[in-house]
């Protein structure tokens, strides 16, 4: 008999990669036109310690809660977490803030090409080995020790990207150097760097998920990747393959996989798909994984520099989520007919229509109203970054829209709206990494609150800008309700052993 699907665990990681900021789409284009800006960009980069101490980063990996963040004075980048220095830890209950040297080690591990895409210098290999030595997963005493090798340096390639770690010349990153790939722009160094970084950062999150779930990699049946990269050559750009590449990286030898694409709503779509696969009985353990986006590094660097702020978009964010058959303890996702919110193709583009489809309709199918939901997780972008682009506090706007929809649907009185906004609000804490902030980023905190009995139901609400692809003017949206497992209160166990 098929079992209800539960969300067993979730991992969230950051890789602090200041020396890759220059290869983000915006900085790369600006620096190509204004090379003199490079020095300003370098001066605007944060140290690893500052990135770790940054309060939104600490919320991301679970050392602080969103409520803790709300209590901290802004600007957060100006030592907002000093009062919480004890929590300024690179390791948290959800994952890790990996330093750049550790990440380069993972990047070499992720590189399966010969000759390698990432050619590590002698000096680079020495520095990376030193940094990796004490890592809890990848060091000598860790569960998955990594060996960093220096590569034989090939002839000077003007199209290769220099990879640095502060003052250390770590190596060069090449595009495809084969005769068939050399003139393919899809296989040029910047795109392959994006793709390999997505694989390595996704692997980091998956490794922590497996470690913290005490799950052997071979126990994973299926992997679904949902990042925003586009892997492939000139004949099939965007073809996919990231799920299995990340699964391969983390040793999930028994698993198969596929990529799900839906812009920012990719993780929500992937999680619903994973739950459906488990509930249908096709697989017992499915992992949803997403790597970080190099393209979005430094996207608003000019705004930071103009305001004398550090460049805050200097981290690759990644996530991994474990969905299993019912264990009688973990929160479950409602998959009844109509319970997953969506944005129909023929629907209006107005906010009201979108929120009616994402909130009111699916909740009605479950016999619920908006006030019956204890917490909502819409797009939770860090406002300190978003305000630089003139977009304001996106998270706050989303909570106001949810409350407004409750008023429009006659579920709360207009006079109650402000109090309702205050009840459901939390500050945004996710870096602007597209698919990562879109609701699912709250999952670590959600699982904790549901398991602790603090709340009964949490709704994840994701939106996607399909129009950015220039083939349609449509939006998309995906929402679902996560509920505490009734077995947790009764003490009964489900039918899955993990």
């Amino acid at each position: 008999m098929p079992s209800r699907a539960v969300v067993r665990n979730a991992a969230f990681c950051l890789a602090h990669v200041p020396d890759l900021v220059r290869y983000g789409s915006k900085p790369r284009r600006e620096l190509a036109a204004h090379a003199e800006e490079a020095e300003r960009v370098s001066r605007g980069l944060r140290s690893e310690a500052a990135a770790i101490r940054y309060p939104p980063s600490q919320v991301f990996i679970g050392n602080l809660s969103p409520a803790d963040l709300a209590d901290l004075p802004r600007p957060w980048f100006q030592g907002g977490a000093d009062a919480l220095a004890a929590d300024g830890n690179a390791r948290g209950p959800f994952g890790e803030i990996a330093g750049e040297a550790v990440f380069y080690g993972l990047l070499q591990q992720a590189d399966s090409r010969e000759p390698p895409l990432f050619e590590v210098s002698q000096a680079g290999a020495r520095a990376l080995r030193e940094e990796l030595a004490t890592h809890p997963l990848y060091g000598a005493g860790g569960t998955r020790p990594l060996q960093v090798q220096a590569d034989r340096e090939s002839a000077w390639d003007p199209d290769a990207l220099a990879l640095r770690w502060g003052d250390v010349d770590v190596g060069r990153f090449h595009g495809d150097r084969s005769s068939e790939g050399r003139d393919d722009p899809n296989l040029a160094a910047p795109f392959l760097l994006e793709n390999l970084c997505a694989k390595a950062s996704g692997g980091l999150a998956l490794d922590w998920l497996l470690h913290d779930s005490q799950l052997e990699p071979e126990a994973v049946d299926y992997v679904i990747s949902c990042g925003e990269e586009a892997v492939g050559d000139r004949y099939q750009r965007g073809g996919g393959g990231m799920a299995k590449a990340i699964g391969e990286f983390s040793g999930c030898a028994r698993a198969s996989g596929m990529d799900v694409k839906n812009f920012c709503a990719g993780p929500a779509s992937a999680l619903v798909s994973a739950c459906a696969l488990v509930q249908a009985g096709l697989y017992e353990r499915v992992v949803v994984v997403a790597g970080g986006s190099v393209a979005k590094l430094g996207m608003k660097f000019q705004g930071c520099l103009e305001r004398d702020m550090p460049i805050l978009e200097d981290c690759l964010a990644s996530l991994a989520i474990l969905v299993t058959a019912d264990d009688g303890e973990s929160p479950f996702v409602h998959l009844e007919p109509g319970a997953v919110g969506s944005a129909p193709i023929g629907a209006s583009a107005s906010d009201e229509a979108l929120y009616r489809d994402l909130l009111v309709a699916p909740l009605e199918r479950l016999g619920l109203t908006i006030p019956d939901i204890d917490r909502f997780a819409p797009e939770l972008h860090n406002p300190e970054i978003m305000e630089l682009s003139g977009s304001g506090d996106v998270a706050r706007k989303n909570f106001r829209s949810i409350a407004a929809m409750a008023v429009r649907a006659g579920q709360i009185e207009r006079e109650e709206m402000q109090a309702f906004v205050e009840r459901i609000s939390m500050p945004g804490f996710a870096p602007t990494q597209g698919h990562v902030p879109s609701g699912v980023v709250y999952l670590g905190h959600a699982l904790r609150a549901l398991r602790a009995g603090e709340v009964q139901r949490i709704m994840i609400v994701s939106k996607a800008s399909l129009f950015l692809g220039r083939i349609t003017e449509l939006y998309d949206g995906v929402s679902f309700v996560l509920e505490a497992n009734p077995g947790a209160a009764s003490g009964s166990k489900g039918d899955s052993a993990c």
């Binding site: 209006s348 107005s350 978003m386 996106v394 706007k397 939006y475």
Partner: protein
């Protein structure tokens, strides 16, 4: 209200979509000569 006027529409993904602004302005009689929706995330 806007009959005979031309309009340029800048919408935003996390605020009001260009399509929604277009619909309002067209209903008021404006001619939309350019419309886009940006996304900053």
């Amino acid at each position: 209200m806007l009959k005979g006027m031309k309009a340029i529409v800048f919408g935003e993904r996390d605020d009001i979509a260009g399509l929604a602004i277009r619909a309002c302005l067209e209903a008021a009689g404006a001619e939309i000569v350019y419309e886009t929706t940006s996304c900053f995330v």
